[in-house]
C-alpha cells in the first residue's frame, strides 16, 4: 500500500513524532511504500539540527534525517515553519522545506494519509 504520513506535534513534548516514526519503520518492514512525510503545525520542530537532547535519549531530528537518507521524501511546511522560526539553515540533512501543495499531492497519491497528532 502507498502511505503518506503527516505529523502535527513537536518532538519530546508529544508522542506523535515517536508513534509516527515507529509506524513508518513497521510499514516499511512490511513492504509498504512511503510516499512522503509531512511536518505541519508544531511538527516542524522535529527536524531542526539545533536540538541537543541528553545523550542517553533518542535524537529525534537525527532519526528523521536517517530515515530521509533511505530515500523517503520528508517535507516541512514552509508556512508553518516560517511562523515558528524554522528555516533551511537549521534543518538536518535529508529533509526539505516546501509548500502545502506537497501535502496535497501526498493526500491524492497515497492510498492512506495517516495523521499523527491531537
Amino acid at each position: 500500500m502507498k502511505l503518506a504520513v503527516c505529523i502535527y506535534e513537536g518532538p519530546y513534548n508529544h508522542a506523535a513524532s515517536d508513534s509516527a516514526y515507529n509506524f513508518i519503520q513497521a510499514a516499511v518492514q512490511k513492504g509498504h511504500e512511503i510516499k512522503g512525510i509531512f511536518f505541519y503545525h508544531d511538527g516542524v520542530y522535529n527536524v531542526t539540527k539545533l536540538m541537543e537532547p541528553p545523550q542517553d535519549d533518542r535524537h529525534i531530528a537525527n532519526r528523521w534525517s536517517a530515515l530521509g537518507a533511505t530515500g523517503i521524501d520528508i517535507v516541512v511546511c514552509i508556512a508553518a515553519a516560517k511562523r515558528r522560526g524554522i528555516v533551511d539553515d537549521v534543518l538536518v540533512p535529508n529533509v526539505r522545506i516546501s509548500g502545502l501543495g506537497q501535502l496535497t499531492m501526498m493526500a491524492i497519491e497515497a492510498d492512506r494519509l495517516v495523521v499523527f497528532g491531537d
Binding site: 505541519y40 508556512a79 501535502l103 496535497t104 499531492m105 493526500a107 491524492i108 494519509l113 491531537d118
Partner: protein, 133 residues
Amino acid sequence: MAEDIKKIMFTVRKPPHGTIYVYEGLEVKLIMAAYDADISVVFMDDGVFAVKKGQDTKALGIKGFEATYGALVDYEITKVFVDRQSMEERGMTEEDLLVIGEDEDTEEPIKPQVVDSDEIAAMMAEQHNILAF
C-alpha cells in the same frame, strides 16, 4: 478524467481558538482547493464553533479568521457541512452559522449545510483521504 479526481475531506473537531490547529487547517483547505481534488469540509464536536458567526478575537490579541471562513465559496469550497448533534449539544442553531459565500446566480447567501451523523459517516466512507484539524 472526472472519475480520477480524489475525494478529500477535512474534519474540524477542535474549537477555533486556543490552539492553532483550526487556523492552520484552514490554510490547508485553501491550498488544496486549488488542486484537482473533490474537497469537502465537516465541522463537528467543538469544531462547530469555527462556523459560528460573530466571533471577536480582539480581546485575545490574535488575528481572527471568521472572514476567511466567510469566503470559502470564493475558494470553490462549497461542500461544507455541520454535524447537527454537535451543534445542538452546544446550544447552537442554524441561525448561529456564518455565511460562507453567496450563490453566483441568485446572490443568495450560502451557509454550511446541517446534516446528521449518519450522513457524515456515509460521506466519510466515500473519501479517498480525510484530514482532521
